[in-house]
């Protein structure tokens, strides 16, 4: 099993180690075990090089902002919908629930191309010469990277499933005590549903951080781009592999740190995602 573990780790070890070496040494070390060892001319020069080449801090902030917004707002919007679907009686509930379940199978790749067309036609507010005007086209904005990913059929489904396992008698009791529905949601259901929130947060965090196809298409402006698309700046001429490795290390480390700190929650979240089968 240790050999297997090595097989799963070697590209990442190689990445970390190479990020500390000059590009020439990376290529010459490939022939030996030195490729995986931090030996020779070790320095942080590549990292400095990355900062010179691209606005890496801006890219990281963009990605963090977009990810936090998608996960944070998504938790509220999707859990409210899940609450309404699992605990309240209202007209159209059955229809909404069946549509949510039906849309689970639509992969993003199917709608990516028409969606570019669609968002390029949507109205948006712009500040121009101190005036608030409206214009058409969502391209090159932050919100085009966020809003389409807030509502998530799978998150709604998970919340609905989880909330419906909490006894309904709690609601009845709270209502007799004079609590409104929103209070029941906020004071009773949310505190009882930590695992559901953790699962949804984890399952939406990864794709949000790793977004590539969508920002590639809708964000041309350098200062709005997320880290994955920022990658492109390293392949214009002959790539400086040392800098490439430093950049990939910088955009991978935050995710690895989050993953290793919450690995228990990660594992159970993925297991929970398999339950839908």
């Amino acid at each position: 099993m240790t050999a297997l573990a090595a097989f799963f780790l070697f590209p990442l070890v190689f990445m970390f180690v190479s990020s500390l070496k000059p590009s020439g040494q990376i290529l010459s070390d490939v022939d030996s075990i030195r490729a995986f060892l931090p030996v020779g001319d070790i320095s942080l020069d590549n990292y400095a090089g990355v900062f010179d080449r691209v606005p890496v801090v801006q890219f990281l902030l963009n990605s963090i902002f977009v990810t936090v917004a998608i996960v944070g707002v998504g938790l509220v919007v999707n859990s409210l919908c899940g609450f309404a679907l699992s605990r309240l009686e209202w007209k159209g509930r059955g229809l909404v629930l069946s549509v949510v379940i039906a849309t689970l199978i639509i992969p993003f790749e199917t709608i990516a191309v028409p969606m570019v067309y669609w968002v390029s036609k949507l109205p948006t507010l712009v500040f121009e010469d101190g005036l608030l005007k409206y214009d058409f086209g969502w391209l090159n904005t932050y919100h085009v990277q966020i809003i389409p990913f807030i509502a998530n059929a799978f998150s709604i489904f998970l919340f609905t499933q989880y909330f419906s396992t909490i006894p309904k008698s709690i609601d009845e009791a709270a209502r007799i005590d004079g609590a409104g529905w929103f209070t029941i949601y906020r004071r009773i259901i949310v505190p009882l549903s930590g695992p559901a929130f953790a699962t949804v947060a984890i399952l939406t965090f990864l794709p949000a951080w790793n977004q590539y196809l969508w920002p590639l298409m809708v964000v041309q402006q350098e200062e709005l781009r997320p880290v994955m698309v920022g990658m492109q700046y390293f392949f214009q001429l002959s790539p400086q592999w040392g800098e490439v490795m430093a950049y990939t290390t910088m955009i991978t480390l935050p995710v690895l740190v989050v993953f290793l700190s919450f690995q228990r929650a990660f594992v159970s979240s993925v297991a929970a995602s398999g339950v839908k089968g």
């Binding site: 309404a84 199978i105 990516a112 067309y117 669609w118 409104g180 995710v255």
Partner: protein, 324 residues
């Protein structure tokens, strides 16, 4: 599928609480007013998500459908014009599209059984009660949390003529077999992408298999051991039958992910060499976005979606069989 989405878009629009035809309150004593408020609150709470789903899921699906019958372009002074099934006829006579479809099928045909089997193997390995097994679970899962963009770049470097993969082959064969520049050779490029794709995603399916394994009651194994079943017999008669619904789920998720192959191709080969790694989604993005032919791109996306739909229907069938 498309019909249900249409009707929802239409019926979710009028939010006015219609007067109730029959008072179906769950608690008999509850007043009408409370029931009406419950109805209104329910709708209000669901509304943001429902609205966003309509705007960014259902309308784009309908658009994919509608645009595929037009000659729409991303930036064009002329409004889109209906062209009937021209885009589909064009697709099926376009050698690059046909090659992309073939590549997509080849990719799926290899990935699905191999990745599912390796995932199961890993799951059985990490399901043992030995020390340090959690650490291995975590390690096998690390490639999954690493961005596929990063993974593709790393492997692209390793696949070079003078890269890690070749130097490794050189070492273990004592120089007897020279590798090639894997991604530049039409015969090996798709295979190279397959290997890294399996490496990246197998940990995810290991965890799904693992959660399936853990639902099998320990008593069944005890009983089997009492009857003198060998480890292999235990696997064949206890484990495997207990994993049926997990298996359906794993196969379907791998198939759908495999049909959607895009990032690896975009980062590593741009569909080359000689279209040997181009895929359906890659073509849809290339035509629909990079060459701005939204109509044609939408038609290819729709063909991809039909494939996904077929896979999902097969899944339905397989899971229904189990319940009968």
């Amino acid at each position: 599928m498309l019909q249900t989405t249409t009707s929802s878009a239409a019926s979710a629009a009028p939010p006015a609480p219609v007067p109730e035809k029959a008072d179906r309150t769950r608690v008999p004593r509850r007043s009408n007013r409370a029931a009406r408020r419950e109805r209104r609150t329910g709708l209000a709470m669901a509304a943001p998500a429902v609205l966003l789903l309509i705007l960014f899921l259902i309308i784009p699906v309908l658009l994919a459908f509608g645009l595929s019958f037009t000659n729409a372009r991303l930036i064009s002074p002329n409004p889109p014009r209906l062209v009937g099934i021209d885009n589909f006829l064009r697709a099926f006579s376009d050698p690059v599209f046909l090659r992309s479809t073939l590549n997509t099928f080849v990719f799926a045909a290899v990935i699905v059984p191999v990745q599912a089997a390796l995932g199961l193997l890993l799951a059985v390995l990490v399901n043992q009660k030995i020390r340090g097994v959690t650490a291995f679970r975590v390690i096998f899962f690390i490639p999954v949390v690493t961005s596929i963009v990063v993974v593709s770049i790393l492997w692209k470097f390793m696949y070079q003529q003078d890269g890690l993969v070749n130097s490794f082959i050189d070492t273990i064969t004592f120089g007897a077999w020279q590798g090639t520049a894997w991604l530049n050779d039409p015969n090996t490029a798709l295979g190279a992408i397959i290997v890294l794709s399996i490496w990246q995603a197998v940990g995810f399916h290991m965890l799904i298999w693992l959660s399936g394994l853990q639902t099998i009651p320990e008593e069944l194994y005890e009983a089997a051991r009492m009857d003198g079943a060998s480890p292999w017999q235990q696997f064949a008669n206890v484990t495997w039958p207990g994993l049926r619904s997990t298996m359906v789920f794993v196969l379907v998720t791998i198939t759908i992910a495999a049909l959607g192959l895009f990032v690896q191709v975009d980062v590593m080969t741009q569909g080359g060499p000689l279209n040997s790694t181009s895929t359906l989604v890659y073509q849809a993005v290339r035509k629909g976005y990079r060459e701005q032919e939204i109509g044609y791109g939408a038609a290819i996306s729709l063909i991809f979606f039909v494939l996904v739909l077929i896979v999902s229907l097969v899944q339905r069938r397989l899971t229904r069989d189990k319940e009968d």
